[in-house]
Symmetry: none
């Protein structure tokens, strides 16, 4: 089944407020196999509101609106929908008594305006709202359903879950959305597309979306079908194809961020980490410590912006900085080794680069970054030249650092598995 969401309210057309109810509604609808075809935000204007409902009724069998059920003059959803369906509005005395009771329990008298909230289009079912005065309304018209919900999320959410979802479940077909999400780093959107296009093109029934995010690319697969076993088989097959095409560039298949993946690897391997950052200015430490329980693997880090502090805190030789420059593979490696020795951690990470907008040169333009990791078995260094602004360059540098750690554990544990297989 297909649905549209209409968010009603002039405040949603200002720069202050975003319609966030639709995210919640989409998630809930998807789980029972209802796809959202369009979202519309429209102000408190009778003609525009009527047009939005009329158009949607011509397209889909289910419309969910939120907002415009308040007691004031600019709450027009009830009247507009009644007009549109050629129904009369009648006062519902049960609702009126409920609203009066709510006010009485707060020690107040019901203001006259709230009578509007007891007006109900003929033939509408009442959806009780235990958290507010405006009930939701369910209307049927020629096989189509219109569900009118109050706007405040704390009223809308329980009302939807308790009263709308069960009704929809009875109507919805057996079709469900089955989905996968893969996250990739170190390959841009178009390179990912080129590698996986031949695979996903063979499955036109699966909707594949490739999204560019800062420092990573996300691939979403969505398959709408009644047959869950078939969906699993097809999605598994596509993902296996992607795994071959993208190899170790896939870092997550469950929506986790790169720092979460690395946190789990560190924990599973009983490893600890320390960081010496220059251009990222603490971003790597902040990401590593954003995860609950990070004190078990993250021992500490230094942000050594000045050359003196690179020497004082991570033992980078002053002569090396003079000879190679602060932004160089050598200094990245020295930072990684220095901080690891100082802190006594399993892994050390060093980052140096030019985040801009100033500080670039012909030889080392803005965006030049060197990242290194150091461990008992050796070092690994990666250099890059990133496009984008300061924020983007810093983020991408932190992505490279996390990715070096990830790949280290990936092959380390593979090697461990191979050697234990040999021993076995």
């Amino acid at each position: 089944m297909k649905a549209e969401i209409i968010a009603v309210g002039s405040e949603l057309l200002t720069p202050d407020r975003l319609d966030t109810n639709s995210l919640f509604l989409t998630e809930e609808l998807n789980t029972i196999g209802i796809e959202v075809l369009r979202k519309t935000v429209v102000g408190d204007d009778r003609d525009l509101l009527a047009e939005a409902f009329r158009d949607a009724l011509n397209r889909v069998p289910l419309i969910i609106s939120c907002g415009g059920l308040g007691p004031t003059e600019d709450d027009l959803t009830r009247e507009t929908v009644a007009d549109l369906l050629g129904r009369k509005l009648r006062r519902n005395d049960e609702i009126l008594r409920y609203i009066e009771g709510r006010f009485r329990s707060l020690g107040r008298e019901m203001p006259e305006v709230n009578v509007r909230q007891a007006m109900v289009p003929e033939g509408a079912e009442i959806l009780e709202n235990s958290r507010g005065t405006a009930p939701g309304l369910w209307l049927e018209d020629g096989g189509r359903a219109l569900v009118l919900l109050p706007g405040p999320p704390r009223e809308l959410k329980p009302l939807f879950r308790e009263q709308v979802l069960p009704r929809l479940e009875r109507r919805a077909s057996g079709v469900r959305m089955h989905s996968r999400e893969l996250r990739v780093t170190g390959l841009g959107e178009s390179h990912v597309e080129q590698r996986i296009l031949p695979i996903y093109k063979r499955f036109p029934e699966v909707k594949t979306t490739i999204l560019a995010a800062p420092g990573e690319t996300q691939i979403h697969l969505r398959f709408w079908t009644e047959d869950g076993a078939h969906a699993k088989k097809i999605l598994d097959e596509i993902v296996q194809g992607f795994e071959i095409a993208l190899a170790d560039r896939i870092f997550s298949q469950d929506g986790r961020a790169l720092e979460e993946v690395v946190a789990e690897q560190l924990t599973l391997n009983n490893a600890t980490i320390a960081a010496a950052e220059s251009c990222t200015g603490g971003l790597l430490a902040q990401r590593l410590t954003s995860i609950a329980g990070s004190s078990s693997y993250f021992l500490g880090g230094v942000v050594c912006y000045s050359n003196e502090l690179k020497t004082a805190w991570a033992d980078v030789p002053a002569e090396m900085i003079a000879a190679k420059g602060a932004v160089s593979p050598e200094v990245a490696v020295a930072l990684a080794e220095g901080i690891r020795r100082r802190v006594g951690s399993t892994l050390g990470v060093g980052i140096t680069g030019i985040a801009g907008p100033g500080g670039g040169s012909d030889e080392k333009p803005v965006g030049t970054v060197h990242v290194a990791i150091s461990h008992a078995g050796g070092i690994k260094e990666r250099g890059a030249r990133f496009p984008g602004d300061r924020e983007s360059i810093r983020w991408q540098a932190s992505q490279i650092a996390l990715d070096l750690v990830r790949v280290h554990f990936l092959y380390n544990s593979q090697n461990a598995a191979i050697s234990s297989a040999k021993r076995g």
Copy 2:
């Protein structure tokens, strides 16, 4: 003038992504007197996309779309709009060369798919995109304008400001939105409301909105009028009232973030800063260094998660940690003083606390934070118990730290002004 915004992309109809570009666009359009009548989100489907554009063209003289200009098969905005207006798509060799050049400057070859981004409907004006491969497009049709923008906010925003806004300004009417934004820290939404309600109630023609943001409260004032001088007079009067009611809790009147305000103070005062962070894990350093040119005032910082590193890197006496606990006013002060001495900066900041979800106790529950600053003239310490999750607690702790620095300079420079007035 009235406008509609169409956000294109199937990912915006999933529970993963919300269209946030429309907030930015609405704000920018409002400032030049253009009102947004409707926002529509539609997926990557040619028919539905065509319908959305067709309907909007029937309603308003200006349509702004974002998204669907990427290089992949599901990027359909160019083709759909060209079809709808009966225009042919032609390859623009200048754009093609630009895209190839972008890839070349990153040392890569342009993937074949990117040729799509050089396809342009006949009669379209090209809006150069300095941050990405897809240019924006401006089309005119029977007195109506269609503006097609790329989806990524970091490309869309500068492109809109630099190239779309000046073109729209020439077309728009005399009514403008005149606005002010005040940012407040250390006072919650309802306390701000209580203090300023008597002031803004006297000006019903000005729309006042109070918004809660993490660690701060924002007040927006908006006044739609043709009379700029009158708007300025009224808004000045309201802001003066707010300044009396909120005193030094207002940190910004121009939309700047707290770290930007502090960065300017440090620069103006020729001061330097260093940080020793525990629970914020580098967040303070990261915020201080997020600003271009931060190397002139930020010397360095340490993230000392373990107690040993608090002693090794910031000279916090081990006995003090044992006696008072790592999360204590004493340790916050010792961190601030230790890092200032070590680094030789004008100011030192120390942060210690329990960000959770684990690690809390009855005496020191999750959310307990101590922050201190140290300078030649003395120390200042502030303790707090924040509600919220790990991310929110860490953010609020970094806000307090920045606010301590801000207030230090506020009264320091006032004192300097007073003493120079005495001398004068």
